[in-house]
Structures are given as C-alpha cells and as structure tokens.
Subunit: 402 residues, 2 copies
C-alpha cells in the first residue's frame, strides 16, 4: 500500500510547482473540484481588476478600442487554441457551451445535415439543446447508446455531438479513431471538450476534428460561468453559416446596415456583445498556461488520480472511471451514501462533488495540486467511510453544479 | 439664449444628487455616452470584488448554493422588472440581447407564428438574428418600412421585433397604442428595450406588452457586455417553449436526466451556465435604482437634453431626434464632420459617440449628470465647431460601439 512518503517523492520533480504559486487557495482546503469550477489564478483576478477599474471605470467606452475589447474574443480564443491543438485563428471565446453547440449544429443543419444525435448519458445539456434545435428546424434528433460513437448513428442521422471526456467517468474518447470512422461513414462530429480542455493534451487538428465547443470555467479556471469557446477548422469556416447571427459576427458591425453578412473566419460565431468582465478574467486565467506542456499536464493528472486511488484502495470502492491510460482528470467512485460522504469531506476542507444517483467525483487539476495533498484527501476519505462520520444530519441532501 | 446660471438653477432641485455620489467618473470627464456603456456605480464594483474574491476565490464551488449563484439570474431579473413595469417573477437576466431575441422569436415560431419582421433602420442586430432564425426554421422574414409598426406588417407576417426607443434618434414608441393595434390585427410584438430600460418610465404590463428583451450595459450600468434580460408575461410563459433549451432552463438541472423538461416560469429561458462575474456586477449596479422614481428619471433625461440643445442652439445643427415629449435619453445631431467633431470633444473630456454616416449622439443619463455639466459640454461643442478645431489629423476615423 502506498505511503505518504511515496506521494511526497512524486512531488519532488513536479514540473508545475511554479504555476501552483499563481493560485491562492484558501488555507486548509484541498480542492478536488477543478473539473467543475477552477479556482482563480492570480493573473485572472489581476486582469479582472484592470478591466473593471481602469478599462471600464476610467477609460469607459474608449476601451472597445484602447483595451481592444473588440479583439478580446479572438485573443482569448488564440490562447485556448494552443491547448487543444489547433490553429490560433480557429477559436473564438464567447457565450456558453449550450449556445455554442446550437450555433455549430444549427449551422450544419442549415448546410444540409439530415439529423443530430447525442449519446444517452452524455452531459445532458448537449442533448437538451439538440432537442430544441430539432423542434425548431424539423431535423430529426436521436439519442444513441452510450459509447457507440458515430458507428451507432442511424442512417438518417449524420451529426453526432460527443464529449471528448465523459463528465461522469472521465473516460477519454480516441478522437482520431472516431474521426476516421466518421470520415468513412460520411458523418460529422461536434466535440464537447468541456472536461478535456486545459487538461488533456488534445490535438484536434492532427486528429481530423473540424468542430468543437468547450467550457471556460473548469480546467481553464476562467471563473464561474466563464465564456465558452468554439473551434471551427479553417477549411470549412468560410462556408459556414450559423443562425445566431448577431452584430458581433457581422463583417462590418459598425456600418449599421440592414442585411447580415458574416465576418471572415470564426468571428462569424460572434453573436451579441460579449461579457467583457467575465471574458477578461478568462483571458487572464489562460496566462497560467503560457509555456506549459500539455502532455505533462495530462500525465500529472493521471498520476494524481492514481495516487488518490492508491490511498483509498483499502476501501475497495467501485470506480466507474477507466484505468489511467483511458482516463482524463477525475475519478468517480460509487457509494450508496456518496452524497453524505462528499459533504463530510467538504466539512474537513476536502472539496469534491456528487453526481446522481451515487457518484462521488474527485478532480485532479495538475497546475495547483500536489501528490501529498491528494494522498491526504484520500486518507481522509478512508477515515470518514470507516468511521461512518458521514452519518450526521448535517450532511443531508442539496444541489451542486458541474 | 440659455445661460449657465439657468443650468445651475435646474440642478438645485435635482432629485438624484445622492445617486450621483455612487458614481466615480474620472476627473475632468463629462460622460455623455451612458446610452452606449454606462459607467460603473460603486455598488457594481463592490459586488464584483465580492463575487471574485470571496465567492469564487474563497468559497469556490459552494457559492452556487451559499452565494445563491443559482438564483442570481432571477434576482437580477426582479430588480430589472420594477424598472420596466412588470411582475418581479417575469424577468430573467442572462445571455445577450441577440441571443434572447432569438429565444423569444424562435419560441413564437415553434408555437405557430407564420413570419417575423423588423423595421428597416432599427438596431441592425435585431434584423440579423431574425434573418438567421428565418434561414434555420424556414419562416419568412421581412424588413418593413421605418415607423410603420405592426400596421406595416404584411399579412403573412405576424411577429414584429421593435425597439421601444430608437438607437439613433431616441424616438420613443407609444407601446400601449402599438399593443392595441397588434391585438386588433392579431400580431405579436417583441420589444427591444435596450435604449429604454433604466431611463424611460416603462409600464410594459399596463401597456399590454407580453415579450421583451433588453440590454444590461447601457442605462442599467451593468458593465461592458453585461448580461441582457428577457421579459415574458405570466399569462403566456407556462406554454412557451424556446429552442436554446440548455440545462439552466431545465426543470431539474441536477438530476442529469436525458430528455428536456422546461422549468416553471421564465427560468425556462436559461440556457448555459450564466457568466456569474458579469451578472454579479449587473446585480450590484441595479442597487443604484433602489427607491428611484422612474418618472423622475425620464423627466430629468429630457430636461438635460433640452439644456444641451439650448446650449448648442447658436450652431443651428439639424437634430434627428424628436422634441422632448417623444424623446428618450439621447439627442442625435447631424454634421458632415460629425466623426471628427466627436473626437475633438473626446480630446477635451466630453464623451459622446458617432453613428454612420453623419450622426453625433449625446446621451443624458440622469443618475450622474448635472445640467451644469451638460451645458458646459454644449458650450464646448459650439466652440469646436465655430473654431474648426475638429479639422485636425488626430481626429481621423476609427470605430466605436453602441
């Protein structure tokens, strides 16, 4: 069985010890919920303060030009692009994952797609939004069996929205293999990178992916409800039309002309005026990734997960996450009293989360966590389960957020 | 001709002298662009700092419950509801005006509407988004002649998106009269309140309006790209379906079930996770309106506009805004060198904006402006035009934002 000394030894060669200093986590907290809401890196709070006080408060309307608020969605997108392995000009930040999925899928429908699908048990909002699109456009919508991928699409459905990393299990999809299969079958995939971006060493362009969305507030640490992003490959973007065609996606937003004409490139995915304070925060947060090797990030995440699993091994809990080679940034364990156990851990400063009906989720963001802290968290989980400390009325049920 | 003493006399009975103290405008600036981007009220910056440092930085994921981030869209909506004269539970904040217009119009199309229209020359994004909706859904889209309102709709078109206050001229529409005409003709109006909310004494419910959207960053002072809002009357909301049906509009977002079921009331207009930092700022900004009489706000805006027009009367400029009884918060003047003149004014600290091709726009937000400052701004405009000081290479053309 693993001992704390072994965990400490793993920390000795931590390539991210410097980035950890950019995070000010509260004293006594071991934060294992960065897969749900990343904590604030200092550059994010600095960028927010500058945007609020100097740019908004002092320079006022002029900041659209002087602080380049106009260019902020593309500048933020460029920082994300490197993390997911695509051309810097092919990503734009803005809106939410739900709204961005709608833009991409609706655009494919406008371009002739015959039907849209989502895997059963994938993150629910993806399916909800495709249902809405189907109802509005008359395009068929299908829920297909989990894990079947494009091979599981009915003949009449040619678009699949799929998470690259599953929100519950953290299982990674082999994007390159799925894209090869999609090409063979004449299908199109829109990837939801929410639980992968900023953690998995994604290489979307190399792997043949053309469309993706992702979340700014998990491993990208952009703040609660941070703007999301859209990736659209340069080979397809100039012919891509999307229906949320607001003025910020117009070729010439300040000519104030009737009649929509899309801007070049991914700027056409702009809709209304972006939430500048939230987006400045995300842009600042992304500075933490400057010079960071994503393969190293992904490897450390898996190693942290393994340290946690080693620490809790005596409990013999069922784990719904795959072994580390197929796993991204979190592990999900099953316990009938999972909710209460997570609450008991939170009361001790170990923050994970719970997902219905019986899943305890613990995330291992490599930029601010040590093996020692993760081992300590595992040890406390063992103590809480063994001592039945979770059987306390304080730990009764409430809601939580991905 | 008006003299500065008369302007000062008007300030003596200013009912909003106290609210002006809540704004920290930069020294030497006379800000006449609150119709485009309101300046930060102190409670907005305080709310933002609390949300970023305490809620996000310290309480982390728990803030979804402990800081009631979950309830923030409705709490923000309730503050807006009073300003537009509707039931507190019938407004939700979130997304952008463009996206929210899409939700309402697409929902009407899903409910059987036969066509959507916008007046030519209305704020362009409204038309752009309706074009997108038409293309996706196959519903006809029409551009109708300016000022014709629902009476100008072709027979086959039954939904009109219309600004309650025109972005260029500040002309107010008689909402009650338009709604009576709509009822007579069997048409539906979606009001865009962007240039009215927080300035005009709107009484949407009394006037029979059932659907509206509006902007958070103009007279509501919610910060650049602040979340927008949707109003939907309680008599129609429970049967209203909208296609951007993300998890935050679901009846039970945390059950993580496949299959969409809308939440009760306007919560169903929620889509993705809201931008909490931007929305906290807007929520804080709205505290400035606590106890403020909107009839008094509107009256002061008109009076400030009249003071400005009196100050610049010697120039004899054409004014495209209507007389004060039909005018909201800004005046728009025509000058072939309008762009350069606005730049020359900005160089002197008087901030207005320019709209193609030749419109100078000056906004009169009553919560922080005095008649004396507005008169002074007018005097400087007179000096710049008379002295031709605007004919300087520094004042060459760039873009600006509404």
């Amino acid at each position: 069985m693993m001992q704390i000394d072994e965990a400490r030894a793993l920390d000795r060669d931590d390539p991210f010890a410097d980035t950890a200093r950019l995070f000010d986590l509260p004293q006594g907290v071991i934060y294992l919920d960065g897969n749900s809401l990343g904590p604030p890196p200092r550059p994010a709070l600095d960028a927010l303060a500058r945007a609020a006080q100097m740019e908004w408060g002092h320079d006022l309307i002029a900041s659209w030009n002087t602080a380049d608020w106009m260019g902020l969605p593309l500048r933020t997108g460029a920082r994300i692009a490197r993390l997911i392995g695509v051309d810097a000009a092919s990503v734009i930040a803005g809106d939410s994952v739900s709204v961005n999925l709608f833009k991409l899928a609706a655009g494919l429908v406008m371009g002739g797609a015959k039907g849209v699908a989502v895997e059963r048990g994938d993150f629910p909002t993806d399916g909800y939004v495709m249902e809405g699109l189907a109802r509005l456009s008359g395009t068929p919508f299908a829920l297909i069996e989990p894990g079947t991928g494009v091979a599981g699409l009915p003949d009449h459905v040619d678009v699949l929205v799929r998470s690259a990393v599953h929100y519950k299990t953290a299982a990674k999809v082999d994007i390159a293999a799925e894209e090869r299969e999609a090409a063979r079958l004449g299908k199109t995939i829109i990837w939801d990178l929410s639980h992968g971006a900023g953690l998995v060493d994604l290489k979307l362009e190399r792997d043949g992916a053309k469309y993706a969305v992702g979340c700014g507030y998990k491993y990208l640490n952009g703040g609660p409800g941070a703007p999301a992003f859209i990736y659209c490959h340069r080979d397809v973007v100039e012919h891509f039309a999307q229906p949320l065609s607001g003025w910020m996606g117009h070729a010439s937003p300040f000519s104030f002309k009737d009649g929509y004409a899309p801007a070049k490139g991914v700027t056409r995915f702009g809709a209304g005026t972006p939430a500048i304070l939230s987006m400045s925060t995300l842009h600042g947060a992304l500075a933490v990734f400057d010079g960071v090797d994503m393969a190293g990030v992904e490897a450390k995440a898996r190693a942290l997960g393994d340290t946690f699993l080693a620490a809790i091994e005596p409990l013999g809990l069922a784990c719904v996450s795959p072994p580390s080679a197929q796993r991204a940034g979190h592990v999900s364990l099953v316990h009938e009293h999972g909710y209460a156990i997570v609450q008991a851990l939170i009361a001790q400063g170990v923050i994970g989360d719970f997902r219905e009906p019986d899943i305890m989720r613990f995330g291992f963001a490599p930029l601010y966590l040590t093996h020692e802290a993760v081992f300590e968290a595992g040890t406390r989980l063992v103590d809480i389960v063994r001592s039945s400390a979770y059987r306390d009325a304080r730990f009764a049920k409430r809601n939580a957020v991905t």
